[in-house]
Amino acid sequence: MKKANRTDGRQNALPFWQWARGLRGQQMLVTITFLLVPLLLFFIFTCLPFLKMVQFSFFDMRYIGSRTFVGLDNYKSVFTRSDILSSLKLALYYLGASVIQLGLALLFASVLSFKTRLGSFFKGTLFFPYLVCGIAMGFIFKFFFTHGFVLDTVLTAIGVPHGILPMWLLNTNINNFSLAGSSIWRYTGQNMVLFIGAIMSVDPNLYEAAEIDGANGVNKFFHVILPSIKTIVVLNIILSVSGSISAFEPPYVITGGSFGTATYFVLMDQIAHLDQKVGLASAMAIVLLGIIIVVTVIQRLVFRLFLDEDEKGMTFRERRRSTRRIAVTASSKGGK
């Protein structure tokens, strides 16, 4: 094939073939052909939806049928509808959960980064919940929290009187704690794996030196581990703000958002796909996107500050690359 082209080119000496055979021409052709499909998909399923989202947010409309322009009314509703405002309050439960989750992840990561008997078993056990399919997780926790079932059995076994056990998913004072708890179950392991990665990339001599100096576990944690991975910890803490506002999976799969557990996204899903108020849902999405962008900008600023302090030795290229990496990890988590 290639050879044929070449002889063709030589015989006819068409300008196009000459150009296409040359390095510049080849580069151009490869660039165009290799980018065509990915960019087309990106345009159809990412850019276009985003633009439509902005457009729809100014309309009163369903997926099918007529549209009326309503200006900023949808945005006004986002900030005045009581169900939306109260769904935003639920973010606090998930924010609390992510603080606990990050703490636990840090604890397990700093233990499991060093030689531990059955280390990979513990690591795997803590991580596996992250790989369970969402719907399956929903059933697991419906079962787990059902009155008289798993959780109640354990609590009774350790001496909690049966009479005071609440309805974990129905009692509106408690159910959001239950859901936030299941979110901890699901995501702690994933955070832990990220932290282990960060701890492992620190110069091992530091840990050895600390050990020779007679540092115990707590010393080692506060004076060696934490300072060397503080950037990623701080980034994750900032990230959990937007993460907790966009909390979706636990309420969606366990309670379906009933009994006062509908978070912002669960509500948005209902407004879009059940009530078919596409305009309002788009406005909600745009508002949340605004929040995420603000959080990301803060995260970048903090990152730059930390960088200036710690990593002056890094070249500019390295620095840019690591900023990107962290942003990508961040976003990969934010979506869930």
């Binding site: 990915p38 990106f42 990412t46 989202m53 969402g134 115990n216 990623i232 996204f265």
Partner: protein, 287 residues
């Protein structure tokens, strides 16, 4: 270690630390396994046992597969596994080919718009998937791609920023001199990608396959939006939804269904732990 090792106080302290460490780990493992454990034991119980015994007790027989059979039939798991398999094969091939090609061009060639494209992908990854589906649904509807397996596959193939970044990092570590010498030997740039670089990408391909594979297998939200025809287009991740209906509280069947859907993920996890961990961390190397 060294000199202080023989010191009595030091030894006791070390023992206490070790005990504490394993206590914490066991507590974590217990919390992590408890919901799964109760599900597994319940899946093996007969309806009678399920009604009369505690949810934590072991089943009388580990060979009672009746629940599994019933769950398999009721949720039409056979069909679901077949659909999921087809989706996985197509989506994995497509998305890995596309994202590695994209990464190759972005990493190797300088052209106008290179960094613009990079930034575009980065920014796009900030938009949560659930929010996007508000309008993606309208686009899928306009394109008549709802309730169409190929349509769902195309959607899932769409740009996957994580894979792109894994490939970009990998290309960073493959020396450009490799391409250059191949070009000198008369290879075209297409040839460089397909014959020289793609085979070398294998570790990155495996990582992306696993991450994207697990994500695709577990994707339930988009599947329930775009594959609404449960009888023909059911996939594993949404097959269990059938149990939300009238048989809602028969947990011995439901747990069997849950266990069935977890088995593939568990097998993949056991064999590819390292790739899964490294794939997840490759986004956040510098601490």
């Amino acid at each position: 270690m060294g000199f202080k090792g023989l010191d009595g106080v030091h030894v006791t302290r070390k023992v206490i630390w070790t005990v504490l460490k394993y206590f914490v780990l066991c507590l974590g493992a217990f919390a992590s396994l408890l919901p799964l454990y109760s599900c597994v034991v319940t899946a093996f119980k007969t309806p009678d046992e399920y009604r009369n015994t505690n949810v934590m007790t072991l089943p009388s027989s580990w060979f009672n597969f009746d629940n599994f059979k019933k769950a398999w039939q009721q949720a039409s798991m056979g069909k679901a596994f077949l659909n999921s398999l087809m989706i996985l094969v197509v989506v994995l091939i497509g998305s890995i080919l596309f994202s590695s090609m994209l990464a190759y061009v972005l990493n190797r060639f300088k052209f106008r718009g290179n960094s613009f494209i990079r930034n575009l992908f980065l920014v796009s990854s900030l938009i949560p998937g659930v929010a996007m589906q508000v309008t993606v649904y309208q686009i899928m509807y306009t394109l008549h791609l709802i309730n169409s397996l190929p349509g769902y596959m195309i959607l899932m193939m769409g740009t996957d920023v994580i894979s792109i970044y894994i490939f970009l990092q990998f290309f960073d570590n493959l020396p450009v001199s490799l391409d250059e010498s191949a070009i000198l030997d008369g290879c075209t740039y297409f040839g460089v990608y397909f014959k020289i670089l793609l085979p070398l990408l294998k570790p990155a391909v495996v990582t992306c396959m696993i991450l994207k594979g697990v994500a695709t297998y577990n994707e339930y939200y988009m599947a329930s939006l775009y594959l609404q025809d449960k009888n023909n287009l059911g996939v594993v991740s949404t097959a269990l939804l059938i149990f939300t209906g009238p048989i809602g509280s028969q947990y011995n069947y439901i747990c069997a269904g849950v266990v069935i859907t977890m088995i593939p993920a568990l097998i993949i996890f056991i064999f590819f732990q390292k790739q899964i961990y490294s794939g997840l961390t490759s986004g956040s190397v510098k601490g």
